[in-house]
Symmetry: C5
Subunit: 321 residues, 5 copies
């Protein structure tokens, strides 16, 4: 579905144009066309290919999806793939954005994304002095928007880890903790696969030989790169702490086992000793003088209680109970 199809000149919106007019506007050196498509059909992509003169391999990638994030040069034009990551419960879903950028055009194709780039277009139109930079600036604005969406995801994962840490150290629900740590790790991996390839790709947009469409906006792409590195660093930290939290959880489980063993041992002792004493006075020897003493029965009961009381206090002090 074609969301927008607008021609710009000198940083200002010229007109909403029809799809068939695109190839005409693209030829004018002083203006550029910015088209946004969403969940496109093959026909729409084929039309775009013709109107903009896109490379078949790039169109195939945008059509098939499941690409890794990348920035590829096809002659003077750039083909960019980015992943938007959205958290839904225990899942980290990935939506794909492909951007074709030529000197005179920008074509963004998004698939399976909830929120589009209307805000990007609105903001760009409010700042004509920046939009004047042309298609390279639009590419920057789109990338910046995608990258900005990573931060809340990272924050959400950090909050999740903090909650888990609390539960781990309080020793509660170790089984659920393992499962959630595993899920968290999985979500981190999805996010990393979205971010890492872009770092290298954006680096080529401002350092060394810069593609023509990005010239004059290198500092903006460096800013995007910098944000990506920050996300990546946060992910690395999280990843490291998740791994540590996993082994902490195992230690806590083993510790809990120690506790159980100790309590088991303590209670067993409290029961075993009176049983032994009772056993002794249950023997059938003819000559057991204690048996004939009237106060001996309550005395033995008292001794049993006293021993247990003593053991209980000792176990308590030793932290076994």
């Amino acid at each position: 579905m074609i969301v927008n199809c607008v021609a710009y000149q000198d940083g200002r919106k010229l007109a909403d144009i029809r799809v068939e007019e695109i190839s005409e506007y693209v030829k004018r050196p002083e203006c550029f066309v910015w088209v946004a498509i969403k969940d496109p059909t093959n026909e729409e992509l084929e039309t775009m290919r013709r109107e903009f003169g896109l490379h078949p391999l790039a169109v195939e990638d945008a059509s098939h999806g499941h690409q890794r994030p990348k920035v590829e040069e096809y002659g003077d034009s750039l083909f960019t793939v980015m992943h938007v990551v959205e958290l839904h419960g225990d899942e980290a879903d990935v939506a794909e954005v492909s951007v074709f950028t030529g000197v005179n055009y920008v074509l963004s194709v998004r698939k399976g994304m909830e929120h589009g780039f209307v805000a990007v277009r609105e903001r760009a139109e409010r700042e004509p002095e920046l939009l004047r930079h042309g298609s390279g600036f639009v590419l920057y604005a789109l990338m910046d928007n995608v990258v900005d969406r990573y931060f809340p995801v990272v924050d959400a994962l950090e909050v999740e880890l903090e909650k888990l840490e609390e539960r781990i150290f309080s020793g509660s629900s170790p089984k659920a903790n393992i499962e959630e740590l595993y899920n968290l790790k999985h979500k981190l991996m999805v996010l990393r696969h979205a971010v890492e390839p872009l770092i290298e790709a954006t680096h080529r947009l401002y350092g060394g030989r810069v593609p023509q469409v990005c010239q004059g906006t290198q500092e903006y792409f460096r800013d995007v790169h910098d944000h990506l590195v920050r996300v990546s660093q946060a992910l690395d930290g999280l990843r490291d702490m998740v791994g540590t939290a996993m082994s902490v959880n195992l230690s806590m489980i083993t510790l809990a086992e120690n506790e159980v063993t100790k309590r088991l041992a303590s209670y067993a002792a409290l029961v075993a000793i009176p049983t032994m004493i009772a056993g002794i006075y249950g023997m059938n020897f003819k000559y057991m003088p204690e048996l004939d003493i009237p106060w001996m029965y309550p005395a033995v009961l008292a001794i049993m209680a006293a021993i247990d009381y003593y053991l209980y206090a000792r176990f308590r002090r030793a932290g076994w109970l």
Copy 2:
């Protein structure tokens, strides 16, 4: 066994030719020869060496097999080795494809592979405008085919991991889980050894100084490279999760031990306390007033039952039973 031996001109099939004619056709600048061999004998390889003028070291590699994936330049020609990985039950089997590519010829040699490259040839013949690119395009088409075969393998391994995850978190069959995780890791390793060396090798076919036969088709090789990186990334992710799943499994085993210990302790308590009480009333003291009370025996039995009921309820609530 020689599967095919065809001369092409201007992107179209010229003729099926005899092996002895190869050296003749290879000399014609305007056409190229595409030969496919399967499980070759040494004589066949020797014939090929003579007809195409191949380098002895490369022929030796193709003959001995057990090479690692690579792309090597011998003068103007390329020698490519690729691994096809096929899953058969718990095993990941590797078949080897060697491709000799010169300006005017392509020779593919496959060993121990179930499915050949007939589909590649058919598709190439249906697209003469692409086949016109010459032997470099054929090399691309073969590589693309090999790389496309990695994706279903990765998918199968991902499904396998998901099944294992479910079983791990449900706590069932920990022993089998360990063994299957180990097997999964082994299969991942086999696949990685097929993919990783190709990444570096294909990179040299489109970036920097490009070999002559690949010139004009760099964008296609970049696409192959990109797919390989995607496979590699997926493998890295899988590998990471398999490692994590292993330590999760260990945690689950340790947790299960805790459960067993707790249940053991609980049941032991339920039996030990009545035993102790019975022991006490089994003592042989002369003066034990309770022994003479008629309702005392059922009362003691009731007390035993009551204590056990209380303990049972408490253990239940504590999650020990």
Copy 3:
């Protein structure tokens, strides 16, 4: 809040100047302006942007904060972000310093930091022969001060680890140890995220193509770089030892479990054997000749005591008790 606003000429303080005069002094080739701001309002930053002609992206970074440490070139000027790490109990807090350095000016912006850079300014003013190097030297002096603050933090963490090691090997409070090791790891991560990016960034200030403002002071920046590498190395070592300490702690917990199991087994034996003997003499067989021997009861008690004494001694020797 503007802390200082001073013009320098030839290595000596010229005058405290008003904010509005900045742009005027900056134009004079022979002098430079050094301004220090703390927790700035947006208006203050906007004023600075105008007076110094700063790049909007850099000002935005300084204003928003939460940047990663970096050194960025904007034309002839440098934008530097550094993190100051302060330990408060179990937390490692991060404060941010941004420094804008042009040929004729230095502007430092600090946020949420306890101690400012008054000492840096005082020392610089006492050494006019160094201050004569200009704004590049001031940037060095600020970086040097920030980096010097990392050393006591590293030392504190090393002391913390040593205390933990002692507790781990004495086997005391394994639960607290785990938690503190986890916290320690977290603090190390915060510090690493402050230090690592600066290493690469400072390297570019003395090696290869050196930015204009740093020329003539490369050896100073190499010194800063060297200190950062030293901090980084110490952090790597700490990190490694913390990981090892964690697994040592797990081993100690498992060992402790062994101890408990052994003691449990030993005490159980001491009780079970007399119980068994008592049970035997509690049987109701008619013909049990021992039962009629008068000294048999004390003899059996003595035998019980003797067996227990023997077992106790043996367990002691085996280290089970």
Copy 4:
């Protein structure tokens, strides 16, 4: 001991020559001398140094031994150190080969090696068209021979791991498994230390600026490099799997502990319940009506047996027994 001392011209053996003649033959541009020494004395090395004009540092390295594998250039000549690894039971023994290669000579010095390089010389003399390449080809032939000796070692280690895997998953002899995995890891390390440094070293013999003696034979050295990378890859895989096998073994041990605990609990239950019942009927209450019923004693025995049978069946079904 001098094993061989032969002069070659135009790819064919000229003559066995005496040591004192070496310096004379080395001067002739059209021929080269190939000397093989084994476990040399210092005098022999000194003689060689004089005759060939070797660099003192290189001779010192060859004399002292315990060098790491390397290829060093001394002016126009190359000094190569390689390790041959031989498995003897649980040990991986390392023998050292030093090769001095000049434009007109090759001197191989081997220490502590069982099998020498006679086969290399024989094969080279059978292929004069290759030997014509000169001393560089001889160096290749020696390296190729050394590298070919790594493959059976890797294979032996792979077989060893497979045997261990079987034993680990069958749960037998966990203690021996740990020790053998540790030994296996040690042997892998020895092999890696032999292989890794050579990879980098051989790379310099065919890529970039190639030493003069290797010119014209680059493709051969690339082949050696390729084989080394293959060995290295196999070692990495092995190393990874050994690490995994170790943690699998730990999991199996923990699992075995669970089994033991469960069996222990089960058998304890089978004994404890009859004991409790017997205890109850051993109480001395006056009014216990069951005691007077004649069939009660066998009935109680039957109840005990029935309960145990039921428990036994249940434990069996639950897999505890």
Copy 5:
């Protein structure tokens, strides 16, 4: 304290000179001055700074100490910091050597080192043909001496690991093993921090753009580099094996726990079964025909013994006892 202060010309000792004469001798192009200081006072360093014209930052580093190993260029002169590692019981102590090398001078400053460099000077003076290379050769000789001191340390740590391995596999003193492995790891880290930075630093003394003072002696510095890489490789291997030994130790501890549990279970069975039988015959049923059979009591005792004997034999065979 100034240990030596000697001028050399043409590879031979010219004279012991006074400190004040240094600046004079340094000016003569044909000779060089070699000064050795030990635990210097600030005044001594200040004197040296003036006499040799050293860079203040380098002098500051030498004075403060606690530098990381490095080689820094200050104009034409080199500033080198090296760590000497000495083992004292469980500690690895680090002493620091700073060497200032100019075209005409070498100044070595050592701190807290037991053994100085007298041997280096003596050997250099015995080999005038080498000393003729000038100050660069002296720097090499000092570095070589420092690096040679690493080998016995590595050997000592290897011996320590071997002893530990033996103890680990024999299962003795697991607690002490953990602590010693931890200490070993710590010592390895100290050594690595001494060696690693030097590897990179020495590489710059023979490869690429070589500092002037090292020209003509590159092959010697390559030798030092090579030795450092060898030390580093040995350390990596040790580090790897220490990590593995730690996890082996944990496995052995867990195994030991299994053994204890099995023995505990076995002995418990040997006691529990007679207790149960005794309990049965302790019941007070009126009609228990066995009780009246005279030989029944010894028969029951015999049965108890027989069962225990059978169980004991079975446990033995199963390896539980």
